[in-house]
């Protein structure tokens, strides 16, 4: 039955489409192929989520080689949920990309851009779907290498140095993950995640396993831009082409968070991961420092893309905060915020993409008076900003609600207060853009028109999702609570 092949088809189809896209050498054809790949992965992800919710986790042995010998794909609630997010953001960003990329990237490179995009999507889908620890490394490098290439396509020459810096730090992170996986293989003789989870308890009192754990945690933290390891992120987001920023901000760090959850909870198990080391305290402190320092730096940025990039570092702090509680509510908060932050950041960066499309810059001073000239774009930005702050009826509120709830549950009142205080900083930096757009006279006399519908439609669909999932939380919180139960369950067995 073909439905049983969904896990592998959703990864394989974009991978096969990528070289096809490179061969066409035609901008429009490249876009159509990229869109087809994204829509396909969204359909597969929706199908997989339905199957997982009805039938339980789906396993797929590639090439018919039974795990633990062959490579297995393993889809449970959290992976299906992340796959759905990747597909949805991929489709919206690709729709947006047609006009935006035509303007920002040289015509002869456009089909190659879509090739890189499809490879990046493949890598991210693969990381999420796989049940094999070494496979995570391979797919991670596929997605990273293609994202370095996409970031380097930015118009500003600083995009090149940003991409290089990201390449160096990303490669170090990925190599750390490789070392960690190698050390685990050394102790257990297996790479299959389920098999690893079964065999690690017998050897978890050894230095080798602890070293593996340390290498993996640091490597993945680099990839997800946890506070002191976030230095690659602001430049990469600020100078990349608009669509790339929206795509990478919505997906790459989120998938890294997913990998972190997988390794901490599914493979090592919560009792080892948080028992052997004071990891909960370390994450808690780093997460809070991330929230405050990055939000504070964001306030003083001149460029709106850079401002949102720093805000991303802060929001990743919230996600890690949820993980650091090591409780069901905390994990629900983390997983929900993973989804919600992807929605809000992708929407906000797409709104900025509309601005860049019309005025050629995302500089806050250049955005003066845009509220009257591009009302729909700026309205989208304002609603996205509300969501970032966490105002009720937006998704941001749901995430903050669960995080505060988790903090109170643990009796950590100061943390709950700090989460709310962090939102106040978000008010300040969102306000800077709003103030420029609505309360300052237009900077130039030139005629600036509203962005075309082809750009506004995907932006507003994502903004709509921000509001919809802020009111109807059945899907997000439902999936997140099942995911949290599964993640903690695998830790509680031991």
């Amino acid at each position: 039955m073909t439905l049983a092949h969904l896990p592998v088809l959703q990864v394989a189809v974009p991978l096969i489409l990528a070289p096809v896209c490179a061969l066409t050498r035609n901008a429009r054809a490249g876009w159509v192929i990229a869109l087809a790949g994204s829509v396909w992965s969204l359909i597969c992800a929706a199908g997989l989520l339905l199957r997982v919710l009805q039938l339980g986790p789906q396993s797929y042995a590639i090439g018919g080689w039974e795990p633990p010998w062959g490579i297995a794909l393993h889809i449970d609630v959290i992976s299906a949920f992340v796959l759905l997010l990747l597909g949805a953001i991929g489709v919206m960003v690709t729709i947006f990309a047609r006009l935006s990329v035509e303007q920002e990237i040289a015509r002869e490179n456009i089909s190659l851009f879509y090739t890189a995009y499809l490879l990046c999507l493949t890598g991210l889908l693969g990381i999420t779907a796989t049940g094999d620890a070494f496979n995570v490394f391979v797919f991670l490098e596929i997605s990273s290498l293609s994202s370095y290439a996409m970031i380097a396509m930015g118009q500003d020459r600083r995009a090149l140095t940003a991409a290089f810096q990201y390449l160096v730090m990303g490669t170090i992170g990925a190599t750390f993950i490789l070392i960690g996986v190698g050390l685990l293989y050394m102790m257990t003789g297996t790479l299959n995640m389920a098999d690893l989870a079964m065999r690690i308890p017998a050897v978890n009192d050894t230095t080798t396993v602890r070293a593996a754990f340390a290498f993996l945690t640091v490597g993945i933290s680099l990839k997800l831009a946890l506070f002191p390891l976030h230095l690659w992120l602001p430049n990469a987001y600020a100078y990349a082409p608009s669509v790339v920023t929206a795509f990478v901000a919505g997906t790459a760090t989120k998938v890294a968070v997913y990998v972190m959850l997988r390794f901490l909870f599914t493979i090592f198990g919560a009792s080892f991961a948080f028992g052997a080391l004071p990891l909960s305290e370390i994450f808690l402190v780093l997460a809070l420092v991330a929230v405050f320092s990055a939000s504070f730096v964001a306030i003083f940025q001149e460029d709106a893309k850079r401002l949102l990039a720093y805000s991303s570092v802060a929001q990743i702090g919230y996600i890690m905060l949820g993980i650091s509680f090591v409780s069901a509510t905390g994990l629900i908060g983390a997983v929900v915020h993973l989804f919600n932050h992807a929605l809000m950041k992708a929407a906000l960066f797409l709104a900025l993409g509309c601005v860049v499309y019309r005025i050629g810059s995302a500089n806050i001073d250049a955005m003066a008076g845009l509220g009257r000239r591009m009302p729909l774009t700026m309205a989208a930005f304002v609603i996205g900003g509300f969501s970032l702050i966490g105002i009720p009826l937006t998704v941001g509120f749901i995430s903050k609600w669960y995080l505060v709830l988790a903090a109170i549950e643990r009796g950590w009142w100061p943390v709950a207060v700090l989460v709310l205080a962090g939102s106040l900083l978000a008010v300040v930096y969102v306000w800077r853009v709003v103030e420029a757009a609505y309360f300052r006279p237009a900077a130039s006399e030139g005629e600036v028109r509203e962005a075309p519908w082809a750009l506004l439609a995907p932006t507003w669909i994502l903004i709509g999702a921000n509001i919809y999932f802020g009111i109807d939380t059945d899907l997000t919180v439902g999936a997140a609570s099942q995911a949290a139960a599964q993640l903690l369950g695998s830790g509680a067995i031991r």
Binding site: Y148, R157, T161, L167, T175, G182
Partner: protein, 117 residues
């Protein structure tokens, strides 16, 4: 287990630290890439070391071969080498473009130019 008997792991650590140091301390972007390569190579040696079974032959199905080295780490490292080559190629391509637009491959000079602009 004596310390000298584990000499391959000492080499791994030495290479790893050398590579890491090159990446951090050198301002020249090409040297950074070389450092990155040394760093990755140390991990390759680590994997290959762990696959070796003392007295074991190559994993061939033939008469008289009972002990053989674990072939899986070799296969994994083949993949990792390919990834490493791709990373190096991309990094060098970026450096070429950086040199075209900045006229230098020195990180400090690049930062200086960015500050001035």
């Amino acid at each position: 287990m004596n310390l000298l008997g584990l000499y391959n792991y000492w080499i791994v650590i030495a290479l790893m630290m050398t590579g890491f140091y090159l990446v951090i301390a050198r301002a020249n972007l090409v040297r950074k890439v070389i450092g990155l390569n040394v760093f990755q190579t140390s991990v390759f040696v680590l994997f290959i070391s762990m696959g070796k079974v003392s007295g074991g032959s190559a994993p061939i199905l033939a008469d008289g071969i009972v002990r053989y080295s674990n072939p899986l780490p070799h296969v994994l490292i083949l993949t990792a080498i390919v990834v490493g080559v791709a990373t190096t190629a991309l990094a060098l391509a970026l450096i070429v473009r950086i040199r075209e637009s900045y006229g230098t491959v020195d990180e400090d000079l690049i930062h200086e130019q960015d500050r001035d602009s």
